[in-house]
């Protein structure tokens, strides 16, 4: 029996689609509200910040808060560019190394048989629970012992080997047919070459997704408790300092919040479109 191809899956109707759309739009507005509010606050002139009742839009939008942010920032102990450099440096190092380390380990754990593999797989599954939020006090003790507190190592090394990254890559690589790997073996390719030249191009959605997670996580590293040297601190700590200075800086704090949320969103939008694209190409999309 031939089945007629249609755009949609079989259980749906147009009416249902519209109901879902309306529901998601309402919920979506709730999700976006705090983000919208941050943006609005950042473009309000000072006199509008303290109106009663507070307005949910700006009557006379201004870029004054962003200008003030740059001025405040340039009067700090170290130039603001230094904080930007720290954040970008940490985010790039953590994202890239996590991608490389997690992918090669995931290839070994899903596609190669070697003694110890089963145990490592089990450990990773349990370790998914232990994120850096849960571990950071115990990590502090370890880092103090090996003497890397107050160095770049303290805000990069602990965030690289995340069980989640390895787990994610492993799940996707498991779907690659073994025959493809064996064929490469017969051609004389070693493990490293198979992993990087054969497996990785086939799991593009997986590492793009990991890149989103890794960058987002790394961008939010504050170095709180790990870093005391002002010259090594990433941007989120500056934001905390501005917020801590109270209501007078409310607009400037909102401007900092907005600037800080742009890079992860940009990365997500860029990667998300290629994820969908790749899935369409591989025939996985419905």
């Amino acid at each position: 029996m031939r089945i007629k191809k249609s755009r949609k899956k079989y259980g749906g109707s147009l009416g249902g689609d519209i109901a879902i759309f309306v529901l998601l739009t309402l919920l979506g507005l709730f999700m976006l509200f705090p983000i919208y509010l941050s943006v609005i606050q950042s473009i309000k002139p000072p006199e509008e910040l303290f109106l009663f009742p507070p307005k949910l839009y700006a009557m006379a939008p201004t870029n004054q808060n962003f200008v003030d942010l740059m001025n405040t920032a340039s009067n700090m102990w170290v130039p603001f560019s230094r904080y930007i450099f720290n954040s970008v440096f940490v985010a790039v190092v953590v994202t890239v190394t996590q991608l490389i380390f997690a992918s090669s380990a995931a290839y070994a754990l899903s596609k190669v048989n070697f003694p110890g593999k089963k145990a490592l797989n089990k450990i990773i599954e349990v370790a998914l629970l232990f994120t850096s939020t849960v571990l950071f006090i115990m990590q502090y003790m370890v880092m103090a012992t090996i003497g890397i507190i107050d160095t770049y190592l303290a805000i990069t090394l602990p965030y690289i080997a995340t069980p989640m990254g390895l787990f994610l890559m492993r799940q996707f690589m498991g779907q690659i047919p073994d025959a493809m790997i064996e064929a490469a073996h017969l051609d004389g390719a070693g493990h490293a070459r198979i992993c990087w030249q054969i497996v990785m191009p086939n799991v593009k959605p997986a590492w793009l997704t990991l890149m989103i997670f890794a960058f987002n996580g790394a961008w939010q590293i504050t170095g709180y408790s790990f870093i005391y040297n002002e010259a090594l601190k990433p941007i989120p700590t500056v934001l905390q300092q501005i917020t801590a200075s109270g209501i007078a800086r409310a607009g400037v704090a909102a401007a900092a919040v907005v600037i800080l949320m742009i890079p992860p969103m940009l990365i997500f939008v860029l990667c998300q479109s290629s994820v969908v694209e790749t899935m369409a190409q591989s025939g996985l999309k419905d």
Binding site: L23, P53, W219, M279
Partner: protein
């Protein structure tokens, strides 16, 4: 004896044959050992000591654990709050992850991308505590207060972030707002990866509506992603109170939003009583492992 010897030799041979593989896993697992395995494993022995980071740890036996459970009333409050957070935000956020991912997947292509971004945006925006402080500010400039007063629902400003009656509620709302993280994306990806012919087969077998399709076709094909999302949501539900450190005063009024995590932070990062803090961490790890084991037992039955 002979067989064991053979097995040993076989293992050695296998190891030698795959020697390159150990090079591939080494970078990851060395860092993993230092920053995940060791911190978890030393929490128990450290919990038996007094340690202030300056002097060598001093062995005190069970005294930290004794104080925790029998003398430290704040800790008992923290356990209670942690469980409330976990029981409310854990299942609720898991349900939200799944339902929203499924609803999004029902829509046509461009809308899928748009809504995925909208619901994941809070995770990307991250810790926008200053905006939440503005919403729940205790004076009439606070958005929540202003609108409640204007609509005549309340008469005066509510101290959302300092009144012990409201702190838990506010923290739960904020936690749920940013709960659609990795678990949500994993379920989205899983839904998109279900082969089309499964739905076609389902249609032939007489599936009439979305609900039947969800139960008979979609959920059975999603086992691994559903389990992964469950683990992710448990983890974040146990650390839920952590946002209180930034959002409200620390510690919260009457310890109303105090959790095991924030208690460990209090002793570890403020008072430098590392031994006591390690004991608290050990309890947290044990509770999380137990919850994880329970979830796998329950979900495993349905997902395998």
């Amino acid at each position: 004896m002979y067989i064991e010897d053979n097995k040993f030799r076989y293992t050695l041979m296998q190891m030698r044959r795959n020697i390159g593989v150990y090079g591939l896993i080494a970078p990851f697992f060395i860092l993993f050992l230092i920053f995940t395995v060791i911190p978890v494993l030393i929490s128990l022995p450290m919990g038996f000591t007094n340690f202030n980071m300056a002097q060598f740890p001093q062995w005190v036996g069970l005294s930290n654990f004794y104080s925790l459970f029998l003398e430290d009333e704040v800790f008992l409050k923290a356990i209670e709050n942690t469980l409330v957070f976990a029981i409310v935000t854990g299942p609720l956020s898991y349900f939200l992850c799944f339902i929203l991912a499924w609803l999004i997947n029902e829509l046509p292509g461009p809308l899928k991308t748009l809504f995925t971004f909208v619901f994941y945006a809070p995770t990307l925006a991250g810790n926008i505590y200053s905006t939440w402080q503005l919403i729940f500010s205790g004076d009439t400039y606070g958005i929540a207060n202003a609108y409640l007063i204007n609509l005549g629902i309340t008469n005066g400003a509510i101290q959302w972030l300092t009144d012990a009656n409201y702190i838990m509620g506010v923290l739960i709302v904020v936690q749920l707002w940013m709960a659609l993280g990795a678990g949500f994306l994993a379920i989205r990806a899983g839904l998109q990866g279900i082969p089309r012919d499964r739905y076609e087969a389902g249609a032939i077998e007489g599936i009439k509506n979305r609900a039947q399709e969800l139960i008979y076709v979609t959920i059975p094909a999603m086992g691994p992603q559903l389990l992964f999302a469950a683990v992710m949501q448990i983890t974040s539900s146990f650390t839920a109170g952590d946002i209180g450190r930034f959002l409200t005063a620390f510690p919260t009024t009457d310890y109303a939003g105090h959790t095991i995590m924030t208690h460990a932070y209090d002793y570890g990062s403020i008072r430098y009583e590392m031994g006591y803090s390690a004991a608290i961490c050990f309890v947290l790890f044990a509770v999380m492992l137990f919850a994880n084991w329970g979830i796998k037992k329950i979900l495993g039955k349905y997902l395998d």
